[in-house]
């Protein structure tokens, strides 16, 4: 290998400007319109300048901790993410393993599929009272809601992916007389991986949606309860900053799962 290859110029201004400028224009126009619409004597919603003025303390210090639920937004988000991580990790383990069993066994599939189809349509928050009654604990109930939200897309996608192993690969496995273990690791899992990751990506988005809503009801430290608390104490400007955080973290989560899956599944035809 020689080092004569040209350095890629992806960072050059000609490439960056067309990507960055249009969203910047949109942002400025929206902010300007917003400012104009909300700048009367008694606006119902705060204008951007007012948000910055009144919520300055939570913008500049995301890590303050004054005890109880009075914490900076980063600390609130970290608590929410922790709940999501636990529920999502459980859902991934259960979803992938049950999905594989359901996908490979026709009898089990026929037996369980109708129930899965009904259960997956239940909105996440509808599980909350049920979970509270069962666990008697807000924290565990919130995690259960994440689990039950995330598990269906992972489970159903995995079982479909397992059923979709192309006949060609099955034929190769039959000729090579691969045993169950080899078949699982060299054919089944790699072939189903793109489906599994699609399920996990959908699940990541749904979990983040669900945690914000669940925390509003369960209370404690977390971005969801922060928003609810801000509403109850008329700190409307804080809500806007919190929404910004929710959106950014949601996007980051989605990208994280997307790039992880790209790293692992890099070999599709």
């Amino acid at each position: 290998m020689t080092n004569t290859m040209a350095i890629p110029r992806w960072y050059s201004w000609q490439k960056i400007l067309p990507v960055v400028v249009p969203p910047l224009i949109v942002l400025l126009v929206v902010l300007a319109l917003w400012q104009i619409l909300c700048s009367g004597p008694n606006p119902r919603l705060p204008a951007p300048t007012m948000i910055i003025r009144e919520s300055w303390h939570i913008i500049v210090d995301p890590f303050f901790d004054k005890g109880g639920t009075n914490k900076g937004l980063a600390l609130q988000v970290i608590q929410s993410l922790r709940r999501v991580a636990v529920g999502y990790a459980l859902a991934s383990c259960v979803g992938v393993s049950v999905g594989i069993v359901v996908g490979t066994n026709r009898f089990i599939n026929r037996g369980f599929d109708p129930f899965f189809q009904v259960l997956r349509t239940v909105p996440p928050l509808a599980w909350l009272p049920f979970a509270l009654a069962g666990f008697q604990q807000a924290e565990t109930a919130a995690i259960f809601v994440i689990f039950i939200t995330a598990v269906w897309p992972i489970l159903i996608n995995t079982s479909v992916g397992v059923q979709q192993v192309p006949q060609d690969y099955r034929n190769v496995a039959r000729i090579l007389r691969l045993n169950r273990w080899e078949y699982f690791w060299t054919i089944l899992l790699p072939s189903a991986a793109p489906y599994i990751f699609t399920g996990m990506r959908i699940a990541a988005g749904l979990s983040w949606l669900a945690i914000v809503a669940a925390e509003m009801l369960t209370g404690g430290v977390g971005i969801g309860f922060f928003i609810w608390d801000a509403w109850n104490s008329s700190r409307i400007t804080d809500i806007f900053i919190a929404l910004l955080y929710v959106g950014m973290v949601g996007l980051l989560l989605d990208r994280l799962v997307f790039y992880t899956s790209k790293l692992i599944v890099q070999s599709e035809e």
Binding site: Y169, I175, L176, A193
Partner: protein
């Protein structure tokens, strides 16, 4: 070329019936009753022979190959290799598929090694080293030593098919089953691969059963050409022996008057005696 346990066919076996299909029929149950794909097929292939199967689409060529591969069982009759009834797929009858069927998540080398590993089941470190050597040797045989660590999607169609052939040969099959192996390739690559296959076949003396649509390809490569009648209930219409000596030369062959006789025989079988009513490509 190294091998571990599977012996190559010895010269003494050459004239014994090797692959045998005796009165083979295959029918499927459909909503409208039984549909017979193949009817009364009798064929015996000698060890080391190169036999092509040619016929129109839907004549059951692939069904015939699937019966030999063991993917399906005959409804009637017997398919046997060295007097053993074929009941399931196995590494002794490796198939090279038209769409290559390489595992896209494995490199070229890993695809070949998976085949070698499944045949020899290496346990000790020495056996594993030899198995790896076999995989490397066969990639080299098809001229792809440099592309060993590329994934299938980084390879051209011709290269993919070479990997598939290397995988098949590395497994030391008793018979190599080729299902329109060059059908998806451009003409130049196809000719290159035909020459390479012919070269490998002469060196390894592996028995080959190949399905093809291409009359010239069949004549250039085969000892015998099996021509199928049209389905349903297709059977072997005629078997044409090509007595031209090997090694064959493509250019000289096209100037050989015998070549045109064979070509005409094939074409008249396909387009006059068993022509299809509809156009097909």
């Amino acid at each position: 070329m190294q091998s571990l346990k599977v012996p190559a066919p010895s010269p003494s076996q050459v004239d014994l019936p090797f692959l045998e299909l005796r009165d083979v029929s295959k029918s499927y149950r459909t909503a409208k009753g039984n549909y017979t794909v193949l009817q009364g097929v009798n064929l015996s292939v000698k060890s080391g022979e190169f036999v092509s199967i040619i016929g129109h689409s839907g004549c059951g060529k692939t069904t015939l190959l699937n019966l030999v591969a063991g993917f399906i069982r005959p409804s009637h009759g017997l398919v046997s290799l060295e007097n053993r009834r074929i009941t399931e797929p196995g590494p002794d009858r490796m198939v090279v598929f038209q769409n290559y069927s390489l595992l896209p998540w494995l490199t070229a080398y890993e695809n070949v090694y998976l085949g070698v590993k499944s045949v020899y089941r290496p346990r000790s470190e020495t056996e594993k080293r030899r198995a790896r050597q076999i995989a490397e040797d066969y990639l080299e045989l098809v001229g792809l030593a440099d592309a060993a660590h590329k994934k299938p999607k980084q390879l051209s169609g011709g290269m993919k098919q070479r990997v598939a052939i290397a995988r098949a040969l590395a497994m030391h099959p008793q018979i190599l089953l080729l299902d329109e192996p060059f059908g998806a390739l451009d003409p130049i690559t196809r000719e290159e691969l035909q020459d390479q296959l012919l070269d490998i076949w002469q060196r390894t003396k592996v028995t080959v059963l190949m399905i093809t649509h291409d009359v010239d390809e069949a004549i250039y490569l085969s000892n015998r050409i099996v021509m199928m009648t049209n389905g349903p209930g297709a059977t072997i219409g005629e078997i044409l022996t090509i007595p031209l000596p090997y090694p064959r030369n493509r250019v000289m062959l096209t100037e050989d008057p015998q070549f045109f006789t064979f070509r005409n025989q094939c074409l008249s079988f396909l387009y006059e005696r068993f022509a299809l009513d509809v156009d097909y490509d």
